[in-house]
Symmetry: C2
Subunit: 554 residues, 2 copies
Amino acid sequence: MTIGLSTMLAKLESLFASDHASVVSMNLFVALLCACIVLGHLLEETRWMNESITALIIGSCTGIVILLISGGKSSRILVFSEDLFFIYLLPPIIFNAGFQVKKKQFFRNFMTIMLFGAIGTLISFVIISLGAKHFFEKMNIGDLTISDYLAIGAIFSATDSVCTLQVLNQDETPLLYSLVFGEGVVNDATSVVLFNAIQRFDLTNINSAIALEFAGNFFYLFILSTALGVAAGLLSALIMKKLYIGRHSTDREVALMMLLAYLSYMLAELFHLSSILTVFFCGIVMSHYTWHNVTGKSKVTTKHTFAALSFLAEIFIFLYVGMDALDIEKWDVVRDSPGKSIGVSSILLGLVLLGRAAFVFPLSFLSNLTKSSDEKIDWKKQVTIWWAGLMRGAVSMALAYNQFTTSGHTKILGNAIMITSTITVVLFSTVVFGLLTKPLVKHLQPTSKRTPTPISSLTEPLLNGDGSSIQSHETLVRTQGQSDYNIDLPISFAMFWNKPSRAIHHYWRRFDNAVMRRTFGGRGVTKAVPGSPVETSAGQWGEEVENKEIFPEP
Amino acid sequence: MTIGLSTMLAKLESLFASDHASVVSMNLFVALLCACIVLGHLLEETRWMNESITALIIGSCTGIVILLISGGKSSRILVFSEDLFFIYLLPPIIFNAGFQVKKKQFFRNFMTIMLFGAIGTLISFVIISLGAKHFFEKMNIGDLTISDYLAIGAIFSATDSVCTLQVLNQDETPLLYSLVFGEGVVNDATSVVLFNAIQRFDLTNINSAIALEFAGNFFYLFILSTALGVAAGLLSALIMKKLYIGRHSTDREVALMMLLAYLSYMLAELFHLSSILTVFFCGIVMSHYTWHNVTGKSKVTTKHTFAALSFLAEIFIFLYVGMDALDIEKWDVVRDSPGKSIGVSSILLGLVLLGRAAFVFPLSFLSNLTKSSDEKIDWKKQVTIWWAGLMRGAVSMALAYNQFTTSGHTKILGNAIMITSTITVVLFSTVVFGLLTKPLVKHLQPTSKRTPTPISSLTEPLLNGDGSSIQSHETLVRTQGQSDYNIDLPISFAMFWNKPSRAIHHYWRRFDNAVMRRTFGGRGVTKAVPGSPVETSAGQWGEEVENKEIFPEP
């Protein structure tokens, strides 16, 4: 143990030993992250783009630029490290997902989510494994063992919950969001557990005993991981409540919550459990118990800090994947057989589409049998669920690297083809499927447009549905916001006179909380124009919304 | 450049390559961090302890335990990595210091701070260098060059701004805090710049030309570093204001502020400037401009996130230093000459005391000449300033490692003695001087006790100064807080009737904001007991204090 930490830190020391080149790289990387955020913000208006795709594209472009500068010699721009991914980048994302998920929706659909996430992933895994074995054996792409085919099944069953989060909106389509996202987390866990099991078990001759042991192992991991996450969450709630940490300093509470969340993840790693599941349930319990035992400021801080860290980790991953895709060495081996590589990628994409369809529609049917008519998953929702889970991301990349780079770095044709195909599938599914998801959701779920959403409503017109007759909020806010944020709300004032209650309702529900706080909440109530109708009521509306917004039941 | 990042990440990959031992170590380390926070919280009542000392002691104890478990064989428990320190741990601490510093106080005392931080450090540097040369040459402790003696001067001139922050209270003693802390930051920068200059220049024969170049280099670095920090801060303010990032997501604002702050630090590293100064001024500008251009939620979040991250980095460093102190290899070499090691440490401590006295008192006298009588630094303040800057910390450790471990790891007697003496001085000054600082400040600045302080006032009695006649707030809060946080305030109610205005003033100013929010702010005003005098006013007081607390001018 002591040797481990010492070795680790000795390595860490050598890692950054006054290496000017790595300082340059870090500068470049941080600057690119900033660029992704700013560009992602500017592209927010277009419903087609999101930060993931922006980061992926910026990453690839940077890769190309570096490749050109180095004259094609720099064969390795950036090496994808699965450990960096699993130890530092994934935990904040999954924890935040648990922390921010709408628990009511999540637990109401718990059985459906488990059905999709566990059984569905298994179905998808079987189909992709069998399909890969069927097609690839005929294609002569090098030696792939039965274990490799099963690994391919696990790798391409892992949907990208990160990307899914960015495409669907929790407020616009709550049911879909909780189904797709909940499924994504359980699916990630299932894939990782499957993958670990494949690597651990001797699968040259499968019999019923092994299959049973496999299933037992799976449930054992699932239950223990969940229990550990719940225990860590409850422990943190107990500490906050009994010791009342926030009494002296709210920062201590925030720091302790971060540490305990991370500890739950690392403990799961220590006991070889599914750390994704652990940290997800830790997030749920923390938002349900711990969060209510901390000070108000800690509530706001943790809510947004976890979201911001998760957001940073997400764009980091996509930037990373984008840059890694250009690694020449990988492509060198498959350069002689481009047809094969394209063939393998196409087959895999097809299998992904098929594997997902094979469980979404039948399981939705099963799930509908137990539900009342208004809760049923109609075919439009089924198509959306099917489509929203097609993206493959960093988990697939990490698993593929783990499986296919153990024996030398992709020098073997079979391994090289699998790595390049994984990259192709990830890039294609994220960019093409990702770009098409928002329009598809918009097309299939048109009713969601009218649901008032506090944060993202700025892109939608004010009161009217068609967006033609009244100046949109967005324009209003932007015009005013750019001057000095002191919005005098010319349109809204008129509305207050004409249809006060409706105006107020729509106004506050739809108006960006940020602007609201700038106008009333943040600067104090007294700053409203004296004598105007806003003055008397702004405080109470501001307060009401403020309490809702700042202290929502997460 | 590309090779750099690639090498770095390849190393990072090998660093965590499924190494179970390092997972164990990380668990241990995170668990210890949690323990430090909880213990630090529990020991908060005692005015003598703080988190730094707690972490240092816990770290040392863990080191001893590990040493015993491994049977004295584990020679390296934890290696202090100066790069980990300078690249990951120091930036959040210094940035947060700039972000939270009371700018009015800081800039009012700017000249005094610069006098102490720059000229004072130079005086201290000269005295320690000369003293070390004088004494150590007679002690026969191996070959130390002139460059080594100058390095010793720079190493022991670096006060520990981290520890200082924890000992003094910004609200109780604002002038002292801004002087000692401001000096600490400038002093850190001066020491690092001095140290780099020593390593870069050929100092075997010093003449006036070299001295002039040295001074020119110093001012060049100082001005350019400050300018870079200010530019980065202004850029972030411009982006927030013009693009109005918070419109869509408050998390994006938080993430962008973090990234830009870090970018300023890394850019300074890239151009070989003083990154400490850069990130400090970036923090000041960000809190002055950027912070006012973000949403209300971002304000709360950034304020507390930066504080929490800085807090985590601080206890990480002290835990680290505490564990590193037990490294056997270092002590092996000096084991044969314990007298020499103790002698060197004592001489260094004496020189530190003398070197600091040699500039604090004369420069205070100079500074007093320019000030009006009520702003003068009286002798009690001078003693406090002298004492509060005696602690040596992680910066000294990092510089010492840089200077004395280049030629093999402390195998040479002179190097080994310098490393162990540095550890001794750091431990002794932090623990002994640190423990004595709080009582000393209390003794020398008794008036500060009556200043109402919103956060830390809970350790002080309510209304009365002697703490005998009325139950202290702390007891009240703890007793009530442990039940369910619904405080019905029996004592305070009596006061509201007797001396309403005074009670209100003292009550709200002194009462912990957390409890306040739980009672009124966080859960909505309507929950106050109907008919009680609190009901009518709680909202407005709560709001007033809430606005002050959540949106203070940082």
